[in-house]
Symmetry: C2
Subunit: 319 residues, 2 copies
């Protein structure tokens, strides 16, 4: 776990604090999913193995610490401190994320996730759909346990974020195989589908470190904006890995996006900037969706490189 | 709508009140699902057409009225009165129910629901999965809007109920094609999968009419128990319709349960009480799962009648 966070040595105490917090988040996550039914327990144990970077919980914790400093709430001897609610909200964000992974694997017909078999592969689509619903319900239940008006605001934000996230996925499905998808719509999809939950994690972390005030609200909005930008960059990077990565390195099925008619930033940029002939060739490559053609991925990447579209997407992620 | 509630004439004012309340629940339901994205709006409009009996919202309203009388909270000139929160909670229960219908249709590979095409039929399984998630999120968001500690308790109950409901479905999937499923496990599945949400609707309606007290808590538990029994009876009836109904009358695909290896009460009773030879014939009939054999349903019903299993299930529903 410690290798996941790459920090200068003077930040080692912070690193230790965050790692310790994430261990407590994991424990809360597992306790919340516990069921009296053995088949349900077994499925949850399988899903717990999906846990990877813990990006969203880490952001709840880090933004909680940062807002406490920035908002002048830090006092006394405690160099680092977050509340019990931060741990619950961190687990909530990871649980919602996990639910979307389980359901995404059904949509993407994916077999591999974090180097293991997906739930749909092992137990069928039906079980994967209901298990995702179980995770969503468990997340909302855990969130509702956060007391007071701050808890209610967290539940409203998590509910609203769930709606936004799904609306983004539905917009993406609506544009499946739409080869004239523009960048604006792509960013609209990505902001909702990926940015919204990461933004919510940052906002929740910050809000729960601050006393209720106009200044706190403004500060939380800035953390939220940071999360949105991070989320979009993260998704572009993920889309690039789907194109250029290999399953053994990425740890999940790759090449699924264009197989499923999902246009991502490098392809959108390429189709908009290629000349007529090149564009025609790429469209033919995309519309074939041929999984059997082993050379198709390499040919697609060659095409994307010819218009500088991979470089363009990398730069967009960095920006 | 008015024909849905069959009441003696002296209860006509009550009927008018309930019908009026359900119209307001529908308006709240539709407002909550509204999206700024046209494809999402269109999908929600399709789902709104699924609305049928509105059993769960009706129970929130009726239990709200009954608990007010029973708890001695009714006073003044208002013969009937429920709060604004009752309307929200009624819409919440219907939204969770609708989410399970949309996902069930994916699991059951059903084409028809309320005499119209299912979402999965029209837009594919992917869209149906995400639309169900959107409905779940919208339900939790609406529930989190109910203010105060009572609202928080409602959110906890709804989150917990979502988990129970999914655990019931997962248990059912686990026992798919298990021809030695016993009645106890069947009731365990049905109580969770169908009973829990109907029980929650009754409890929420009652709780939100009562001041916080030990007597109120006991009364709410009795309403909840009533809901559980009603829910179980309802599910047995639904299972019978799947066996003995026709699509034109029931308004949704029939014969799906045994096609999908789901054992229901009449079949469980039959397998437990038939003699060896008869049991063997029925198992052969069930394990074939032949959709093409037009005579299979009639043969199955004949077998069930020979052991009095349809009558047995009808009696169980009535009890």
């Amino acid at each position: 776990m410690s290798a996941l966070i790459d920090l200068p040595t003077n930040l080692l105490p912070l690193q230790r604090f965050v790692v310790d917090a994430l261990v407590r988040v994991e424990a809360r996550f597992d306790a919340q999913l516990r069921s009296d039914l053995l088949p349900v327990r077994r499925l949850c144990q399988h899903v717990e193995r999906y846990r990877g970077k813990m990006l969203r919980p880490m952001l709840v914790v880090l933004c909680g610490l940062a807002a406490r400093d920035a908002g002048g709430e830090a006092e006394g001897d405690d160099e680092f401190a977050i509340s019990d609610d931060h741990l619950s909200l961190a687990a909530v964000c990871e649980m919602i994320h996990m639910a979307t992974l389980v359901h995404d694997d059904v949509l993407d017909e994916a077999d591999t996730r974090r180097r293991g078999d997906t739930v749909n592969r092992l137990h069928g689509n039906e079980t994967a759909v209901i298990l995702g619903d179980y995770l969503l319900s468990a997340a909302y239940h855990l969130c509702s346990g956060v007391p007071g008006e701050a808890g209610r605001q967290a539940s409203l934000l998590i509910g609203r974020t769930g709606m936004t996230l799904c609306a983004g996925e539905l917009l993406q499905l609506h544009h499946r195989d739409n080869f004239s998808l523009d960048e604006q719509t792509y960013f609209e999809i990505v902001e909702r589908k990926t940015g919204s939950l990461i933004a919510a994690a940052c906002r929740l972390g910050a809000l729960h470190s601050l006393a209720d005030s106009a200044a706190a609200s403004e500060l939380a909005a800035r953390f939220e904006k940071y999360g949105m930008k991070l989320g979009v960059a993260f998704q572009i990077q993920d889309d690039l890995l789907d194109l250029t990565g290999t399953q053994s390195v990425v740890g999940k099925s790759v090449g699924k996006d264009y197989e499923l008619g999902k246009l991502t930033l490098p392809i959108i940029h390429h189709l908009a900037s290629a000349d007529e002939a090149r564009r025609g060739q790429t469209l033919a490559l995309l519309s074939e969706h041929t999984r059997d053609d082993d050379h198709a991925p390499a040919r697609l990447i060659g095409a994307l490189e010819s218009t500088g579209s991979i470089v363009y997407a990398r730069a967009a992620a960095r920006a």
